[in-house]
């Protein structure tokens, strides 16, 4: 293990390390901690110019109450959920199938199609902006959650397929051969053998895609507008316009918007990190 395990170092260094850890963490998260503190400060602290003092009283209830009951935040959160969940399901489903095809079968175009997905996934997606917006308009899906979901599914399919294909490629191939010798139809091999084995990958991808899509801002502003379909990342700007310069409320809003992916990350940490690294490193 590198660096040398702390247990094997002198006592003095161990203590230094142990005490430096929390300090480093606080420094690292300083901007966030500041926002968290902002969000529970009462309005008065700001008008009094007390930005960096501890909250004079706990204003959290009021601030967060405003976020939830006097703004469109709940609606935006719901929109985000309605966009994120179908996207995760759709993209992962498509990728499972495509990954299976690319990971298991040997055919001429295999590598080319795989690279098509990979290359598409690397594209700076802004370049799709004009045509995709147009397409969405033509389909009558502009400013609908469906329009956003369809695009997200399509674009995330690139990454998901890369991930799934590499994962499936890592499965022991004799499993497939054993099933073929047993006379099991190809689609049944997918359903009964490959799919169950992909569970961890599916979990990882779902979590990952959830975060990616939840945090998407660009497509949200390109393909949607208005409270009926915009997700919370875009909603937060309207929210901030509504409460401009009301830092306690803006902070509370930011924290509310950021919370779901953070919660997912903490709940599914193992899968999340596996997803990030496995997808990338294979």
């Amino acid at each position: 293990m590198f660096p040398t395990p702390i247990q094997k170092t002198p006592r003095s260094w161990q203590i230094t390390y142990q005490s430096f850890l929390p300090i480093a963490l606080i420094m690292w998260l300083l901007p966030l901690i500041a926002v968290a503190i902002f969000s529970v400060k009462p309005e008065g602290d700001f008008s009094a110019g007390e930005y960096w003092s501890l909250p004079s009283t706990f204003g959290g209830w009021e601030n967060y109450g405003k976020v939830f009951f006097q703004s469109d935040m709940p609606r935006y959160l719901l929109n985000s959920l309605l966009i994120t969940v179908p996207t995760a399901i759709g993209a992962v489903a498509l990728a499972c199938m495509a990954g299976f095809a690319l990971g298991i079968y040997r055919f001429k175009l295999n590598l080319w199609i795989f690279f098509l997905f990979v290359a598409g996934n690397f594209v700076p997606f802004q370049i799709l902006m004009v045509p995709v917006r147009d397409l969405t308009l033509d389909l009558g899906l502009y400013n609908t959650k469906t329009g956003l979901v369809l695009f997200h599914i399509a674009f995330q399919t690139g990454f998901c397929t890369l991930f799934m294909r590499n994962f499936i490629k890592g499965l022991p191939f004799p499993l497939i051969e054993a099933a073929r010798v047993e006379g099991i139809a190809e689609w049944r091999i997918f359903v009964y053998i490959v799919l169950p084995l992909m569970k961890p990958a599916i979990a990882a991808l779902c979590v990952l895609i959830f975060t990616f899509i939840w945090n998407d801002y660009f497509w949200a502003i390109v393909l949607t507008q208005g409270v009926e379909s915009q997700p919370v990342t875009a909603g937060i700007t309207s929210f901030n316009a509504q409460f401009r310069a009301a830092y306690h409320l803006m902070s509370a809003g930011a924290i509310v918007a950021a919370l779901p992916p953070v919660a997912i990350f903490f709940l599914m940490q193992k899968h999340f990190i596996a997803g990030l690294t496995l997808g990338a490193v294979k």
């Binding site: 004799p174 499993l175 051969e177 054993a178 099933a179 010798v181 047993e182 006379g183 139809a185 053998i193």
Partner: protein
């Protein structure tokens, strides 16, 4: 009847040919072992029988049926893989019954067949475990069980024991032998392990570079190899080969500084030949001094002497018991001329 017949079978991967026209007949109920060095095409040949690799040319029949172009599932074969290939998310019972279930067999029939296989392999107490909760040997037993359940005409094994440790390997080897006795189906078995081949096979097929070198019963190959390759491949430690030249009805062996008269049809004078003697057929002659003892190894029950001749050829001698020669000493050797073999140095064919 369900023997397996390969007629002039060829396998090519794009432009590399890896199997060069193999003809082979495996009788019904026979235990046939493919051996040969790594990369010689053992697995490829086995997988062609299974239908997992396409046959480029030639014909493969199982029993009366030509299966050359059939799907694996239709050939009536079952395969046991080196890595077991158990479905990790299914219990032992489900693993064994899966094939039948997917092909729509009634539950009662599946249960019955699984029970039968379980009995044969003594897996009763593991039926509800997942493969991950089994030892390597148990896993391999389950994978054999899965093959049995399908009731195939031919069992195919691809190095089934090479992922097991030495002790388990011996155990499973005995188990497979017993299984063959019990169900009597045709079995084709790929291994690179001498001992497995010798002890399990009714018939050993020695492959090299995509060609069959020799086919025969284990002891026939040991006693009566057709060529230098088979002679060297079968038997451990490997046969000693010494360069020699024919002269009249004898051969001259420079390493031993002596002529020998072997009971074989001698080739023309001056032909370069090779004398083959197995280490276990050589006795040390302490009074001799033609060879130097380079190294000795005592294993307790047996010892090996590594001898070097003055012209640099090496000879291994297996000695019974724990006596061994002195390292650095000089000795001679004697051997039974009946058991020595002669090969043509060019063609490597046996001279009989």
């Amino acid at each position: 009847m369900s023997g397996v017949v390969l007629q002039d079978v060829v396998k090519r991967y794009s432009d590399v040919q890896v199997i060069h026209g193999v003809d082979l007949q495996i009788e019904d109920g026979e235990f046939c072992v493919f051996v040969g060095p790594s990369g010689c095409g053992k697995s490829t040949l086995l997988r062609m029988v299974a239908g997992l690799e396409e046959t480029t040319e030639g014909k493969i029949s199982i029993g009366p049926r030509d299966v050359t172009r059939m799907d694996p599932a239709q050939r009536g074969v079952a395969m046991v893989f080196q890595t077991y290939a158990l479905y990790p998310h299914m219990t032992v019972k489900e693993n064994m019954g899966f094939g039948l279930k997917m092909n729509g067999h009634p539950k009662a029939e599946i249960a019955e067949k699984v029970a039968e296989a379980t009995r044969i392999l003594k897996l009763e107490q593991y039926l509800d475990r997942k493969p991950s909760a089994l030892s390597g040997g148990q896993r391999q037993r389950v994978s054999i069980g899965r093959a049995i359940v399908r009731g195939p005409e031919v069992f195919l094994f691809d190095e089934p024991l090479s992922n097991l440790d030495a002790e388990l390997r011996v155990e499973m080897r005995v188990e497979i032998a017993r299984l063959h006795k019990e169900i009597g189906a045709t079995m084709i078995y790929v291994t690179h392990d001498q001992v497995e081949a010798m002890t399990l096979a009714d018939k050993i097929v020695v492959l090299r570079g995509g060609y069959i070198e020799q086919v025969g019963a284990p002891l026939d190959l040991y006693r009566n190899p057709d060529n230098k390759f088979v002679a060297g491949f079968i038997g451990s430690p490997a046969m000693n080969f010494l360069e020699a030249t024919s002269k009249g009805d004898s051969i001259e062996v420079p390493a031993l500084k002596q002529s020998y008269k072997l009971p074989v049809a001698m080739p023309a004078d001056g032909t370069r030949v090779i004398l083959g003697i197995r280490p276990e057929h050589i006795e040390i002659d302490k009074s001799g001094d033609t060879l130097a003892v380079d190294l000795t190894e005592a294993l307790g029950g047996t010892s090996y002497d590594y001898l070097v001749s003055d012209n640099g050829e090496k000879i291994i001698v297996e000695e019974r018991g724990d006596e061994r020669s002195q390292e650095g000493a000089r000795v001679g050797i004697t051997f039974d001329l009946e058991r020595a073999m002669l090969f043509d140095a060019e063609t490597e064919k046996r001279i009989r």
